[in-house]
Amino acid sequence: MSSEPDGEAAAPGIAPRRLHPAGIAVLGVGALRGLALPLGLAFAGALLGAGGGQPLGRALAFGVLGALLASAAGVVAWLTTRWSVADGTLRLRTGVLSTKEVDVPLSRVQAVDTVHGPLQRLFGVRGVHVQTAGGGREGEITLPAVTPADVERIGAALRGRGGAPAEPAAPAAPRAERRLGRRRLLLAALTAGQVGVILPALAVVPQLLGEVWGGDLRTAGRDGLRFAPDSAPEWILAAAALIVLAWLLSAAGAVLAFAGFTVARDPDRLRVRRGLLARREATVPVARVQAVRVVEGLLRQPFGLVTVRAEVAGYAKEAAAAQTLFPLLRRTEVEPFLAALLPEMADGLGALEGPPRRALPRYVLPSAAAWLGAGAAAGVLVPALAPWALLVAIPAAALGAARWRAAGSRIADGRVAVRFRRLSRVTVLAPAARRQEHGMRQTVLQRRAGLADLELRVGAGTRGRVRHLEAVAAARAFDALRRQRRVR
């Protein structure tokens, strides 16, 4: 994207203006989404014919009512929204009943995302999300419909801002670029599921359904759809079906989020483009990248596959997809990838110093005991599960052992690497001087065993904690980190 020369010359400012009229549609659809739950309930009520009459007619009436409400909300929101850029500040005024006025100094802008969703494409406009460090979800200023020319102007204003690192007047062609191919996309989608997270949740689902039905689940099942399984194998089959469903859903979600994923490096910015239905483009100043997280999911690690995420202040509360620097790489490709696109963070993934062998029981026993307890409780609640439920202690113990193997840290050449596992194995790479804080923790029990935890915080969201290191090693790392003061 090259900026227009005349846009650079003038003091960058944008007079107060409304969104593009397409904003009515985008805002209306947003309002419709807010109305979805009550409308859906009304719909279902009408179709099930709670009050008699003609169910279809009533459903239609509710649909029309919803559409009218949404369009009215869209028009009102559009009429009351104005934005501008003046005196190095991006301003947004919006709202009727409770007005909201947001001022963001351009020097505080962490990144600008543009969204090119189906509606926005229809009208040839863009959505713009402005991210600041304090940020919650979605961006602090969200402009749902802006003309491409105005997007350019916002970009020009940001390039001309004070305070932030100076950027060259004419960005050269990208120095490096990586694209996610179709095969990789498919692979990324198939391995996207966090089955480990879903599993315990799914175990509870039949129980919950029983609560909702209010009566005896099995009787209800026989009377109705024969939904409830009778025996342990049936329970397991039902759970497996749900897992497959969840897996397919997560795969579809990954395709939507990551199709056409491209990351390109300009001299001092990263540009990330992605998305199937809604094309998103995020521009992140390299100086704002605090750390890189290399995530090896349970489904990916056996194949040596990883996801690389960037830790950028302002994105901490965003969805994982928004933080993705590349959805799928081989483990061995990570270092060359970083060296090409983000040499500031490039570092190896190996050669970390882990906890000693005698720390292994401390990793295994607590999680095994906790899951044994949970299994026993599940067995009491659902007698059909009783003998099976206790088996969860085995994967729990295995997970504990895997956590022990994964844990480790390294401080060398002004860089710090910390690796730990919850379910996925995560390696945090950062220049040591970029840390927000670091620390050490030792419980009474650890003191007797000569062990200690090492803690590291980088960026806003990444907290790395390596548990049960040799106390001496933890203290050495603590001291070594302290010596790393200057940002290079």
């Binding site: 840390r435 927000q436 804080e437 620390g439 050490m440 030792q442 419980t443 009474v444 803690e455 915080r457």
Partner: protein, 161 residues
């Protein structure tokens, strides 16, 4: 001298909190203990029997620990130090935690006082980084003000380098 975490080459922080911090924590502990005793009373009324006895024992133990033992131990363990380039904190009773925050990362610093602290003439210094907030709780009001100003000054100096 209580053992306090693995020995480091980094000098240990040396400053204590205000002595009145103990009184503050004792009062807070007594309030928590009172709640526990009330809960035990409810248990007695609802269930009775052995369960209620266990409840009373647990509540009394908690009340004594929270209002007598823990405040003293916590106060003896709490150490802090503000240096030119960093803030050093060591705290904790059963688990000793040592935290080092580079001055360069301090975004802003403030002091706060809740009702109890106002009554006891205490204040808490809170300093924020992009990763969250850390506290030096329960200093005397005068000292808290000095510490706040000093951190603000050092953080500004670190920024200008």
């Amino acid at each position: 001298m209580l053992a306090a975490g693995p020995p480091t080459a980094t000098p240990e922080p040396s400053r204590h909190l205000a002595p009145a911090a103990r009184r503050l924590w004792r009062i807070e502990g007594a309030l928590a203990g009172g709640l526990a005793l009330a809960a035990a009373g409810v248990l007695q009324a609802v269930a009775g029997g052995t369960l209620a006895w266990l409840g009373w024992i647990a509540a009394i133990a908690l009340a004594v620990l929270a209002s007598v033992a823990v405040p003293e131990l916590r106060w003896r363990r709490w150490r802090w130090e503000v240096r030119e380039h960093e803030i050093d904190i060591r705290r904790g009773t059963l688990a000793v935690t040592r935290t080092l925050v580079p001055m360069l990362r301090v975004q802003h610093v403030d002091t706060k006082r809740d009702l109890l602290q106002q009554w006891l003439g205490l204040a808490t210094v809170v300093f924020h980084t992009a990763a969250g907030a850390n506290e030096i709780p329960a200093l005397t009001v005068a000292e808290a003000g000095q510490v706040r100003d000093r951190i603000a000054e050092l953080a500004r100096a670190a920024d200008e380098l």
